[in-house]
């Protein structure tokens, strides 16, 4: 997985969740996004699902898969990379 993809995912998070006062490079690639990490919740999760589909053409079908995908920025980037490969 490239750092470029990781950075694109961070930017997508900041843009789609409109996180004020935080830039993409302030997000820790390996920190949990939900709970203690960025403190995201189920409302944010659906917003990220829509953004991933729009920006990367990758579908997160349900919350069970979402729990793994949204474990961290790196996990999201990894899921995007894997599912892009499946498509191509």
């Amino acid at each position: 997985m490239t750092e470029e993809l990781v950075n694109m995912v961070k930017q997508m998070i900041v843009d789609s969740l409109r996180i004020d006062g935080m830039s993409a490079d302030e997000i820790d690639s390996d920190a949990p996004l939900f709970g203690d990490g960025l403190g995201l919740d189920s409302i944010d999760a659906l917003q990220l699902v829509v953004a991933m589909e729009k920006d990367f053409g990758v579908v997160v079908p349900d919350a069970a898969i979402g729990a793994k995908v949204f474990a961290s920025v790196r996990a999201m980037a990894s899921y995007i990379e894997e599912n892009r490969k499946t498509v191509t």
């Binding site: 409302i43 659906l46 917003q47 079908p61 349900d62 919350a63």
Partner: protein
């Protein structure tokens, strides 16, 4: 134009600013008027308040505290809106009732609702399905849509087993996530008719002044007045919260800046979703 929006009951308590004079003042009002310890989030002495009632008072108290902070900074909104139990703090913020009355009213109505506990009620939260599918699941399982928060975020309320089967139907229909929570009363459903007369009686003990700041209701997006507030407080418990319509209305009338006054950021996140679909 700026608006303050008052959220409903939080799911949990946040860390409280115990050194803040305004927080301590609100905490004192909670003790005196509700028999509730805001710092420990528990009833005081022998008084029996359920966990849900405590959370309801906590939600109002935190909104009142944040209102004081905003007013201290000389912020005044052009309008105020509310979601569900956010109405009590919203009434205080617009000058229709005092802080003590807002807390006491929320506490007394909370106690009244907790007496519906004989039955098993739950809330269900399906995320990701469209309105029609959620309404159909509710109808098929004899429960109700209690909150229309966005085009994809809803809250169901009703009998516990009905909620579980409705959520399963939502899951099969492709909901992104479903979750349920126990509750004491099926808020925002016709089932609240059972306690409607007791709640009317409680509300009749209070006097409401004309709001000094326009207060927009979450049912029909109209301005509440001193005259119609008492009836609204009874009816809103029996009717669903229409937050998506409320936020769209507020945008249409020119609201450009929004401040969520209370615990959490749920309404701000709902607004973000609604805006993302309309811009």
């Amino acid at each position: 134009m700026t608006i303050w929006i008052f959220p409903g009951q939080p799911l949990k308590c946040e860390a409280t600013p115990v050194d803040e004079p305004d927080f301590l003042a609100i905490s004192g009002l909670c003790r005196l008027h509700c028999g509730y310890d805001l710092i420990e989030n528990q009833p005081i002495g022998p008084r029996s308040l359920s966990q849900h009632t405590c959370l309801q008072i906590y939600g109002v108290a935190m909104s009142l505290y944040r209102t004081r902070q905003l007013k201290k900074q000389s912020f005044t909104p052009d309008m105020i809106a509310e979601h569900s139990l956010g109405i009590y703090a919203a009434l205080a913020a617009c000058g229709s009732i005092g802080e003590a009355d807002a807390l006491e009213l929320a506490g007394r109505i909370g106690v009244c609702m907790s007496e519906m506990q004989g039955q098993s009620f739950s809330l269900g939260c399906p995320i990701g399905l469209a309105t029609g599918a959620v309404e159909s699941a509710a109808r098929n399982n004899s429960v109700f849509v209690a909150n229309y928060n966005t085009s994809r975020h809803f809250l169901l309320a009703g009998n516990g087993s009905g909620i579980e089967s409705a959520l399963e139907e939502c899951r099969v229909a492709g909901a992104f996530s479903v979750s349920s929570f126990p509750c004491e009363a099926p808020l925002h459903t016709p089932l609240m008719e059972d306690v409607s007369s007791q709640i009317s009686e409680i509300i009749s003990d209070y006097r409401f002044s004309e709001p000094k700041i326009p207060l927009i209701d979450h049912i029909s997006q109209t301005r509440l007045t001193a005259e119609n507030i008492p009836l609204f407080l009874v009816d809103e418990l029996k009717l669903p919260v229409r937050w998506e319509e409320t936020w769209k209305f507020l945008r249409r009338v020119g609201i450009s800046h929004c401040c969520e006054v209370g615990s959490g950021q749920s309404l701000t996140k709902f607004n973000r979703w609604i805006d993302s679909e309309t811009t």
